[in-house]
Symmetry: C2
Subunit: 361 residues, 2 copies
């Protein structure tokens, strides 16, 4: 199969690597940055480089557009103009409605969005197994070519991902809530906290772990996130509206002074959290182990090593230093009561006091 | 000094331990649960136990009420009734306006709130150094006795904490935003996400790390949190109102389709985050290292161990498994560019690809 990759960063480079190894494809790549293109060749993500998107696309059967969200429609249009009548052109953007609406007149375009790679960037981090087991959304419409869809979804499955067709609107609404909304909440929370703290004589040094967790992504990657917010503005704004309604309901329950209704609201959130986060975990519900250790190099290692030796898999971990930075609070999440017990035992053997909090909390 | 501790869980027990060791105090304890009282004696957190709050308080110079928020006013009232005219009675509740308003007629009561101990519970986890370096808010009013305030703040400083006077209203407003609001946002986010996902054919297994981080505390510890929300309902509701305004502003910017205003909003949040979270970190601004490793026991250990050996202190860490649970994304935060570089080098030596994201990111 002849394949083109337009934009050879982490995602494009990984597509190239995976396609060459697993599909035995012949991969031509283009990137507006010549240095990136050279690095992609060096990394063996490509068989050859092209001087333009048009050159890369002409003669290719399957074309992946892997540029930033804002550049995708133009790039896909150029690919469609250069590609043959049976080719399929797809993209990897995290927002789908806009590009699908723009290019839907052409049966050769099918939108896509692999859920992988958020943790790193750059072709130097590309790997053939980046998409192994990852969900890869595809957004065909009534106009999409059947031949094209079949070829695309087979290629994606063959590089190890799990293709799933989804309506572009549904995709964007889903992403607005599970991916974009947390960033919005992080942004407003830190803005609000910064204003509150500014009234005090000093920065609150004892910012709690819950604020730290929520605030972690506030203001992250401005270029990428401004693009995403702009491209999915309607769905994100709708999801903000919905969350505003929920907040107003919560404020109402608090002001009414009705403990039972506050308790009910809080318990329902616990239920929702479990349903969302734990359904995919093997081994049973998450258990949290909380402990307090000296805030020194090597302590986390000792802990993780002891758990690893005991065959306990750490599903998640959060550290927060105490005020004086001499101690750290560590929460470790493991799946199932059996692992939780084993983990607690090992931690106690290391001389740390530990509490096990099951997610029923 | 003769000291009484009413309620001998983690906080009360740690006060007892610290006071005995550092103030050379004689500590009498009471707890409604006889087994807890026995464990406190065993842990040497007390010199002796009393059969009632009244018995423990009579003759004591300094009385700490360390019960759940809802029980504090009654307990403090009983202590004030039994204590001598020069005694000082304080509490450790995380909400202050209500109790201070109720007991302010008595110059011997001064509210307090140590920011420590959230990560564990139970007298078996009590330790003499729990408050070392921790902020300990005190909420004196115009009626509070000067003698009492002086004795209280000195005792608190002597057990290693950093006392700071703050108006009770200000305290509750501050806590509403930096501590209680993140829990509210977590609750509404998971409720919203659960509703969105329920419309799909299956639970979204690929919940992003940002949702995981924000949702972590959703529905946590229902008994404690219902108490806190109830006791601080007005300030929390006000803080919800303020955040609703910010959300409506964000939705407005998104709907207006004005990229520059969205970018400005997002960048300001990044600034606020830095100001809030990084001011207290030695060694410079936080750098995030992102990598992807096999999701197996021992991997986190290997990583943390290598960093520990290299003298790199992990300030924070977040793990999230990929969809197939075969790989995990790990973010590690370290302070300052020098440690970040050293950490990245070690991680590459372990054979993992890593990206360094400085917080300007």
């Amino acid at each position: 199969m002849r394949l083109a990759v337009l934009g050879v960063g982490l995602i494009g480079g990984s597509i190239g690597l995976a396609a060459r190894r697993r599909l035995d494809a012949e991969v031509t790549g283009f990137d507006p940055d010549p240095a990136t293109l050279d690095r992609a060749l060096e990394a063996e993500a490509l068989d050859r480089s092209a001087a333009s998107a048009t050159e890369a696309s002409s003669g290719a059967e399957l074309i992946f557009c892997a540029a930033p969200v804002g550049a995708l429609p133009g790039l896909a249009r150029e690919a469609l103009a250069a590609a043959g009548p049976d080719a399929v052109v797809t993209d990897v953007g995290s927002v789908k409605r806009e590009i699908v609406a723009e290019l839907d007149a052409d049966e050769r375009f099918i939108g896509g969005h692999p859920l992988a790679g958020a943790e790193t960037s750059g072709v130097e981090n590309a790997r053939a197994d980046l998409f192994e087991g990852a969900r890869w959304y595809l957004t065909p419409t009534a106009r999409s070519g059947g031949l094209q869809y079949d070829r695309l979804q087979r290629a994606i499955a063959d590089i190890g991902a799990r293709p799933q067709a989804i309506d572009a609107d549904t995709h964007d609404r889903l992403m607005a809530t599970v991916s974009h909304l947390p960033h919005v909440l992080a942004n407003v929370l830190v803005a609000q906290a910064a204003r509150e703290v500014a009234g005090e004589d000093a920065v609150l040094p004892e910012v709690g772990p819950s604020l730290r967790d929520t605030a972690r992504v506030a203001g992250a990657n401005p270029a990428i996130w401004t693009d995403i917010f702009a491209a999915n503005s309607e769905a994100v704004a709708d999801s903000i509206d919905a969350v505003v309604e929920r907040l107003q309901d919560a404020a109402g329950r608090l002001r009414a002074g009705d403990r039972a209704r506050v308790a009910e609201w809080h318990a329902a959130a616990g239920e929702d959290r479990r349903r969302l986060l734990e359904a995919d975990l093997a081994g049973g519900p998450l258990h949290e182990l909380r402990l307090r250790v000296p805030n020194q190099p090597g302590i986390v290692a000792e802990l993780a090593l002891a758990l690893g030796r005991a065959g306990v898999n750490i599903e998640d971990m959060a550290l927060s230093p105490t005020a004086d930075l001499r101690f750290g609070a560590i929460s470790v999440w493991v799946a199932g009561p059996e692992q939780a017990e084993r983990a607690a035992e090992r931690i106690r053997e290391l001389g740390h006091a530990v509490s096990v909090v099951d997610s029923e909390g």
